[in-house]
Symmetry: C2
Subunit: 240 residues, 2 copies
DNA sequence: GTCCAGCAGGTGGTCAGACCACTTGACCAC
DNA sequence: GTGGTCAAGTGGTCTGACCACCTGCTGGAC
């Protein structure tokens, strides 16, 4: 039997999720005022500290604005939310948002080659060796999930070599969105992570320290799956 | 006289900042255990809920890991922090981190053209009109801060037109890092936001719906300031 | 001596109730 | 109208308590 870790959802977690859903799913419009903490606590059947903690987390995510003595209002998440909200917006009301998925694929296709170019510029022989090991590990497995894990580790090395904190943090945010769904994505990503040849070409380009070649090679790694997934997403959208 | 809104720092805010600094500035290594909530509350002279709220926010930012009944440990922020932590990492221990600034400039130079290309693909006549208005507003002012505000509004339109939630959220995160420092950056960004001509070329390219031309035009808008700032940053680093 | 069940202590999770600080809006005097 | 006052409601903070959970120690069984 397939056991899995029990997920203990704390009370504030639960409240946070509910309020977040209200905001993200549009039940609460931007500018609208939330009920008071006391009232929310009463309605949800929890204590005020629990509500408070959830609202503070919403504030930290720039989704709410609290004013001491005044009302707590909803902010426009499209305008203020940070990249960390991406996973929550990818799946809204239980269904995958095709437009959001498309945007992630497009972003990947822009950023991946840019990072690869920087890595080529800055990486040394040690990087080339590490990348080669990583591709070898990728090539050595047949399991689609394991391949994705290896591909992720590969890109992790590339991002490290790019020596760019901005890209590193973007990568972290995107990975945080990607990892929980890795099993669900095994089938659709199989095409990409199976292209060991393309990864080897990219590795060679980075190893040679040639940014432009690396840029092109990274594009060749990412584009095929991007294109076919975008086609699939368009098909889904038109069916629905 | 230059009045400005009074900033009221709440107790949990203060605690959050202190703990964040400890983590980000390396006083607390990754894997290290934090003192217990009760102990922290005692040491900091605040109540436990205040400490608790701060720690929860740290957890939300993926900088801490709390285990019910066990200790709270520090996570590796380089590996787990999201893009929203960027502003806090840009200025560490009170000084601007040149490497982080460089990474932001590089990221901008990769993402800007990508977004411009998407906007060209998807924007219509309405977008062209809005962008033209925005550039006109940019051209009509002499104040460096006001110009930056207009440039920000311009890019906001471009990101909107790109119709990409992933890029929109990145832009939001980067803007949240940029806006508070906008006055301090007035001088160094003056070169870029003064290039009205380059913005007009970009606007025309987007208006024509030609992604590749737009990509190049966006590069021409962003690259000059990027290059000169990178040179300046290198000089700073070598002096220190 | 070795092993392990059981317990005690410490930790985070949650709650209730209280009081303070602040904003808002109604009301009133001018 | 203008400005002051006040009450009501809101968020901000604290105290103290209890529950759920993990860890390490301890003492008995072997």
């Amino acid at each position: 039997m397939a056991l899995q870790p029990v997920t203990r959802r704390s009370v504030p977690d639960e409240v946070f999720d509910q309020v977040l859903s209200e905001v993200v799913d549009g039940e609460l419009e931007a500018g609208e005022a939330l009920p008071s903490e006391r009232r929310l606590a009463e309605v949800l059947g929890v204590s005020r500290p629990a509500v408070r903690e959830a609202l503070q987390r919403m504030t930290q995510t720039r989704l709410l604005e609290v004013r001491h003595g005044g009302a707590t209002t909803v902010r426009d998440f499209r305008r203020f939310a940070g990249l960390d909200l991406l996973p929550r917006l990818l799946v809204r009301k239980g269904v995958l948002d095709a437009a959001v998925a498309r945007s992630i694929l497009e972003a990947r296709l822009v950023i991946g080659p840019g990072v690869a170019a920087l890595a080529a510029e800055r990486g040394g022989p040690a990087l080339h060796a590490a990348l080669t090991d990583s591709v070898d590990a990728l090539a050595a497995t047949d399991d689609d999930v394991a391949r994705q894990v290896h591909a992720l580790a590969y890109w992790d090395l590339v991002v490290d070599a790019a020596d760019s904190l901005a890209f590193r943090l973007m990568f972290n945010s995107l990975r945080a969105a990607y990892e929980p769904a890795i099993e669900a994505l095994a089938a659709v990503m199989a095409e990409e992570v199976g292209q060991v040849g393309a990864y080897r070409v990219l590795t060679a380009a980075i190893g040679e320290g040639d940014p432009e070649t690396a840029r092109v090679a990274a594009d060749r790694v990412l584009r095929p799956a991007t294109t076919s997934l975008l086609t699939a997403l368009t098909a889904i959208k038109e069916t629905s």
